[in-house]
Subunit: 347 residues, 2 copies
């Protein structure tokens, strides 16, 4: 008994990682008091509180995550769920950095939960929820009727979607206004005299596919231009596929004189296809493309671009999830990012 007490005291002076017990020993208080003092509980005297917090800071006390998690169920983890094959490349790095920025001075860690094409997208979500591995989840590739959002909503686990749903259910999201993007792109092409336009859209099934398609179609009608259908490929297709289809399309009698492209990598393929067909960008055809890093103008200075900021998306999504975890109303955690206009580069 005495023996054990002595050992415990030694613990407190050892260079082991300090725990509440260490702090309790150093301050002469009980473990409970220390615990409460650190979280500013009201029933702790002001001086005691300050004293405990001072000592804690001095010796660099950090709560043990496993202890907290076991006792409370709180994981202090945000999970970012990503498709290993289809995510846009720069999306991954930018969104991670965006999220990181926001959680940097919180106790949260970011875990990346991947899933592959072959899997049900619900699998990783189920795993996270069933094992209680995260306090909040961020998903992308959002669908109008999204099983994952529905599932998490049912279980009451906070999440945010990159892209909106259309289920009549309210949840946090961040989205880029792809309707506005497509519409502005069309108007710009019309302004420079283009009237037969093709759209390389996001994959069918994702919500922003229809946003984009609608913005494109509505603006077409407004400006009185016509659409050259190009829906055999989407930005999810391989570079080679897009290039080949574009070349095919451009060799037809009735071919587009303008493209709207929803992703930068796909735009490289479109331009390659255009040139395969012996046509020239800026003369025979113009292309407006979304991009997330400022590289397309180096590729062909004739390209017209609209910037989408994925780092911002990551930050907003993280803020939303944290907000929901913190008790804010899900409906108040929605944001839409407007395109800043079509920009042209000149030599």
């Amino acid at each position: 008994m005495d023996r054990q007490r002595t050992e415990n005291n030694e613990d407190a002076s050892t260079r082991e990682r300090p725990t509440l017990k260490t702090l309790a020993f150093m301050t002469g208080l009980g473990v409970t008091t220390v615990s409460r003092a650190l979280k500013d509980a009201p029933e702790i005297g002001a001086e005691t509180r300050r004293r405990v917090q001072l000592v804690a800071k001095q010796i660099g006390y950090r709560p043990n995550r496993a202890g907290v998690r076991l006792r409370t169920g709180k994981t202090n983890v945000i999970s970012l769920v990503l498709n290993t094959e289809q995510e846009i490349m720069s999306f991954v790095s930018d969104i991670i950095y965006g999220v990181s920025e926001v959680i940097a001075d919180t106790p949260y860690h970011l875990i990346v939960t991947p899933y592959s094409r072959s899997q049900d997208p619900l699998d990783p979500i189920r795993y996270l929820v069933e094992t209680g591995s995260a306090d909040g989840v961020i998903i992308s590739r959002t669908q109008p009727n999204d099983a994952r959002a529905r599932y998490m909503l049912e279980r009451g686990i906070p999440f945010a979607t990159h892209g909106r749903t259309e289920m009549g259910l309210v949840h946090p999201y961040h989205d880029f206004d792809n309707y506005a993007f497509a519409a502005e792109a069309v108007r710009r092409l019309a302004d420079i005299g283009r009237s037969k336009l093709a759209l390389l859209s996001p994959p069918v099934g994702l919500t922003y596919h229809s946003h984009t398609v609608n913005g494109f179609a509505d603006a077409l009608r407004d400006v009185g231009a016509s659409e050259i259908p190009f829906s055999t490929v989407s930005i999810d297709h391989s570079i080679e596929q897009i290039r080949m289809r574009t070349a095919q399309l451009m060799r037809r009698d009735v071919r587009p004189d303008g493209f709207v492209s929803s992703a930068a990598a796909a735009t490289l393929a479109i331009v390659a296809g255009i040139e395969d067909a012996g046509l020239k960008l800026g003369r025979d055809v113009d292309v407006v493309s979304k991009q997330s890093s400022d590289l397309l103008h180096l590729f062909r200075h004739e390209l017209l671009v609209v910037n989408e900021d994925f780092r911002l998306a990551g930050s907003e999504l993280a803020r939303s999830v944290l907000g929901w975890i913190g008790g804010a109303a899900p409906g108040s955690l929605q944001s839409l990012s407007e395109p800043k206009g079509v920009v042209a580069y000149r030599r």
Copy 2:
């Protein structure tokens, strides 16, 4: 007392997440026995073992990570430490997917630990080690004398570096043979008649900077070509800086007729700079560039490329860390990836 027992029994039938206690109740065994049966301990009867494992599978038992972590200190977490500003974009997504692939059917989770330019690179490592947040760590931007590697080696925490160190200390790494890359690039340029070569190198200070520089210099000597110094910029500089410096360089009397570039994005800038100076790729100058995704040939078909597979790097690094955690000798967990040769594209 009786009351409590009843509650516990109810626990077992409730749709709560099953624990060892649940399994113990269902099998009529003790918690200890169940725990051991699940990890194939030798002192458990063969039939009992099978029975327990069957029931566990049936009800979808998953060990509680917090419980394990608290008791054993094992986190089942691998941390990938990334610089938020300077990492190559595709590096981030590819390496994450590479790591994911390997840890997919292990109990490990991947956490991303970012740090910014302003921070000491050692900060995130210290945090991870001090808080015991991960069983293993992967770092990039490795330096010849790397404080992070030394630190982790001292504390005995398993890690792997992307890139080698030169401290005479042995640890797992994966590296691309940048010496071979630069040498092959030079030889190729010499083959097509180029003799005044410039190198856009990795940032000074990282180990692969000197690998690249040495490969470049040695091959230059071999082929009897000369170097046009271009060390005012590195691939860490902004696109604009590289473009401007390249243009300046190309307007000089004695200008390079060949470039070796260590990164794809930087190559875009080099080409832009070349064209800014009124020169033509493939006629006045050739460029050999590393790339990690197959996009450069779309940019300018005259470009010569060498592919570096970051997804492979991620897999190898993950394998190394897991190997070390699993008790393998650090020295046996090193790998070097050879460039597959310079490839040209034609229309």
